[in-house]
């Protein structure tokens, strides 16, 4: 009896150990499962936080690594959760009873004295625990990868605080090219050009995505300054071109028609030519254009010979050509448009023959300087001389002979009225129109006193049809 009792006790202890071991395995698996789930969730959260902090606050990765300490509360949570889901010892015993085919003997062992059944009980085998953790493992690997990426990803990919440069390279390069062109053509002073270039460099470096309006405003301002300089230079060049044209025309006129002018007019013209030439271009420019010193001296003295006038005319032409070339370069640099270029070129065009004729016609009326001013005034000298913005003058009325009237489509009512009209005669003057509805009245011819009277009523053509139908009915 004592032996049986001892056997029972030993067997019971062995079974208890097996049950505890299996329960421990279940608990371990539960801990692992919950740990993996919680760690996966934390890794996703951690990765997000890391990215957010690096991007928003520029936090250092070393500091963010402290997030790994969260593993401690996570392990604690996993242990608590596993403990809560942990089956009771009785349930584990029931599992082992079922799996080992004990038919309730192992369960009964917990509550009854087994006696001889201990020896007859089937051997207790703990079943295999299988965790279908493929999905959980996949998620964990993804989370680990995500958190790794969040640490190693270059900060500029995620940075939100750092200035994002504003791309103004194209506009700035264009502006730099324009300043360079102005510098090259000596249109802008060196100091001013340097100042503009310095400002452009500052705009380039300060260009920020945070405040693009500021950058664009500064760039616009600089562009305005360049445009204004260009416009001033263009106007000056247009004026010079015009003067050169006038000077060239005058020199040609003096060369070709010099003999027809009196000596006084000739002297004044020479002086005017000298003034125009000097105001339009310097002596160095003329020298560069191949004009001899002798001719230059003669120009200053106002005693140019016919040959020298020809040379001057050629030199002025060359200067005008150079001016045109400079304008073309400005056009190529995009500083001026085609319209401005044409305007400048047209300003230099002058009719030398017409000028000679004008001078000859109006000599003595005013000085040559005034004549040149009048000549250059638009509209002077006939319908084909100058632009349409000539001053308005009033004289006799324009003859209608040969004039063409504007054609217009008449309305149906007017057209119907014209069909009933009668041709009375033709006149070159304006037709006299009687007042509509005017009536004339008087006594009947041959009638005795009080014998009656008659009224003549003018009927408009458009009413004639109605009046006719009225009398037909009565």
């Amino acid at each position: 009896m004592a032996q049986t009792s001892r056997n029972n006790s030993e067997s019971g202890q062995f079974h208890d150990r097996t049950i505890r071991r299996f329960a421990f395995r279940i608990q371990g698996l539960l801990v692992l499962k919950y740990l993996l789930s919680l760690v996966t969730m934390w890794l996703f959260a951690w990765g997000t936080i890391v990215l957010a902090l690096r991007a928003a606050a520029g936090a250092s990765t070393r500091m963010l690594l402290w997030g790994a300490l969260a593993i401690i509360p996570i392990v604690a949570c996993a242990l608590i959760l596993a403990r809560r889901r942990m089956p009771s010892q009785s349930a584990v015993r029931a599992v082992l009873d079922r799996q080992s085919g004990c038919g309730g003997l192992l369960m009964a062992e917990e509550q009854t004295d087994m006696g001889d059944w201990v020896a007859r009980m089937p051997s207790i085998m703990a079943p295999r625990l299988r965790w279908k953790g493929r999905r959980a493992s996949g998620l964990f690997i993804s989370a680990a990868f995500f958190v790794t990426i969040s640490f190693v990803v270059p900060v500029h990919f995620a940075a939100m605080t750092e200035d994002r440069p504003l791309d103004i390279a194209r506009e700035a390069d264009k502006l730099a090219g324009e300043i360079e062109a102005l510098k090259k053509e000596d249109i802008i002073e060196e100091v001013k050009a340097d100042s503009l270039e310095q400002k452009l460099a500052e705009i380039r470096s300060d260009a920020s995505g945070e405040d693009p309006a500021r950058t664009w405003e500064a760039l616009d301002h600089l562009q305005d300054a360049v445009a204004k300089t260009t416009q001033e230079a263009t106007e000056k060049m247009a004026a010079n071109s015009e003067r050169l044209g006038q000077a060239e025309a005058l020199s040609k006129a003096l060369t070709d028609e010099g003999g027809a002018l009196d000596s006084k007019l000739m002297t004044e013209s020479m002086k005017e030519l000298s003034d125009l030439t000097q105001s339009a271009t310097g002596a160095d420019d003329l020298a560069d254009s191949g004009l001899s010193q002798e001719t230059l001296d003669a120009l200053k003295a106002g005693s140019l010979s016919k040959e020298q006038l020809k040379q001057l005319s050629a030199a002025l032409g060359k200067s005008k050509g150079k001016l045109s070339e400079r304008l073309a370069k400005l056009r190529d640099a995009g500083l001026i448009d085609l319209k401005t270029l044409k305007k400048c070129e047209n300003a230099g065009k002058c009719d030398s023959a017409g000028l000679a004729e004008f001078l000859a016609e109006n000599a003595g009326d005013m000085s040559v300087a005034d004549l040149m001013a009048a000549w250059s005034t638009p509209g002077s000298g006939g319908v084909d001389r100058g632009r349409a913005d000539a001053p308005m003058t009033w004289s006799d009325g324009t003859s209608e002979r040969g004039a063409k009237f504007k054609e217009q489509v008449l309305s149906p009512s007017v057209l119907a009225g014209l069909k009933d009209s009668q041709l009375v005669g033709r006149s070159v003057g304006a037709p006299s129109v009687e007042k509509s509805g005017a009536a004339r009245s008087g006594a009947l011819s041959g009638a005795s006193s009080g014998g009656g009277s008659a009224f003549t009523q003018s009927v408009l053509p458009r009413h004639k049809g109605a009046v006719k139908r009225y009398f037909e009915r009565h």
Partner: protein, 350 residues
């Protein structure tokens, strides 16, 4: 403080004679009626559990022969009542007749009906009127008969083995739920296989069953009952039975989808008691002093199938009670071990 005395499990030497007697009985049944071992086992389980059995099957499949053979083997008094629509309660329970006494006085004397027997075969029980069917209620549950205010006990043991025909239902009275609930098992008697049929025709002239070569004495039967009473039902198994019966109710926490969809009324507490008792009998036949989960699973279908009231939807979807019970048995974890869905326990391969 003294430890509470632990119950002593039925020892092998105590269990063995009862198991041998039960198995001998089973063997005799198998010898007399061929090809129905499973049915015989379940019938014997019901007898060991002192329960009543409702046998359902087509005519000629051997229902009456089974009951007769059982009566012969168990050496119990056996009576058969053919239930018909004009059968009256008195025809079963017995009646009082005015008789002349020995002293010359006339007095009412009780003439017991066929119910006063150990084994009553209620043949085609669904053909009797509800009134007559109800006459069996008290007898089956209380094992008493009360007539004219006098309660008379029925012989011990008392079993009702009723049969009913699933076809030719015209003019029949389906048993009410209260009546059905009193049967421990409702067992379906199916046709036998070709080989069995061949053996029956070749060995049995006119289909007559042989006489049993061994019978169980009344004392031996009581001995088996006494052992049955000591078969141990572990707490977790009883818990499983309770959960199983509760899960047949559509509003239960552990009810399966099939139960929620098709069951109108689940099994009664009497069903839980019946499962526990039947599982004990099943364990005894398996030679074990304790009830295991497998014993419960083996008897659950027979106990529950006539106790579930299914909806019209079930009839429409051609779902029977067995399918619903199978869903509960397969989905309800016996041990109550609530592990997460992704952790599974698998048998270790040898």
């Amino acid at each position: 403080m003294q430890e509470p005395t632990r119950e002593i499990l039925l020892q092998p030497e105590e269990l063995r004679p009862a198991v041998e007697l039960a198995l001998k009985t089973l063997e005799q049944l198998d010898t007399i009626l061929l090809g129905r071992s499973d049915l015989h086992r379940m019938v014997l389980v019901a007898i060991l559990s002192r329960g009543h059995i409702l046998l359902e099957g087509l005519p000629g499949v051997g229902k009456t022969a089974l009951v007769k053979a059982l009566g012969q083997i168990l050496n119990l008094e056996f009576k058969r009542v053919q239930f018909t629509p004009d059968l009256m309660p008195g025809d079963i329970l017995g009646t009082h007749i005015l008789e002349d006494g020995t002293d010359g006085k006339r007095e009412m004397s009780f003439h017991p009906g066929p119910i006063f027997t150990n084994l009553l075969l209620a043949d085609e029980i669904n053909r009797a009127s509800p009134k007559t069917q109800s006459a069996l209620l008290e007898a089956m549950q209380e094992q008493n008969v009360t007539l004219l205010g006098t309660t008379r006990p029925l012989p011990d043991p008392f079993f009702v083995l009723a049969s009913q025909n699933p076809i030719e239902l015209e003019g029949t009275y389906p048993l009410p739920e209260a009546q059905l609930d009193r049967f421990l098992f409702k067992l379906t008697v199916n046709n036998v296989e070709v080989e069995t049929l061949d053996r029956i025709i070749s060995t049995r002239r006119r289909g007559e069953s042989p006489q049993p070569s061994w019978t169980l004495g009344a004392a031996e039967l009581q001995q088996v009952f006494a052992v049955m009473d000591r078969v141990y039902l572990p707490r977790l198994v009883s818990r499983y039975i309770s959960r199983l019966v509760a899960a047949t109710h559509s509003n239960a926490v552990e009810a399966t989808e099939a139960v929620r969809q098709y069951v109108v009324y689940g099994a009664s507490p009497r069903a839980a008691i019946a499962i526990a008792e039947a599982a004990r009998g099943y364990a005894l036949l398996a030679g074990r002093p304790t009830v295991g989960f497998e014993d419960v699973k083996a008897v659950a279908s027979g106990v529950l199938n006539h106790r579930l009231v299914l909806s019209y939807k079930a009839r429409f979807d051609r779902v029977d009670a067995f399918a619903v019970i199978d869903s509960v048995l397969s989905e309800l974890d016996e041990t109550g071990l609530k592990l997460p869905a992704d952790i599974a326990i698998e048998a270790r391969k040898e």
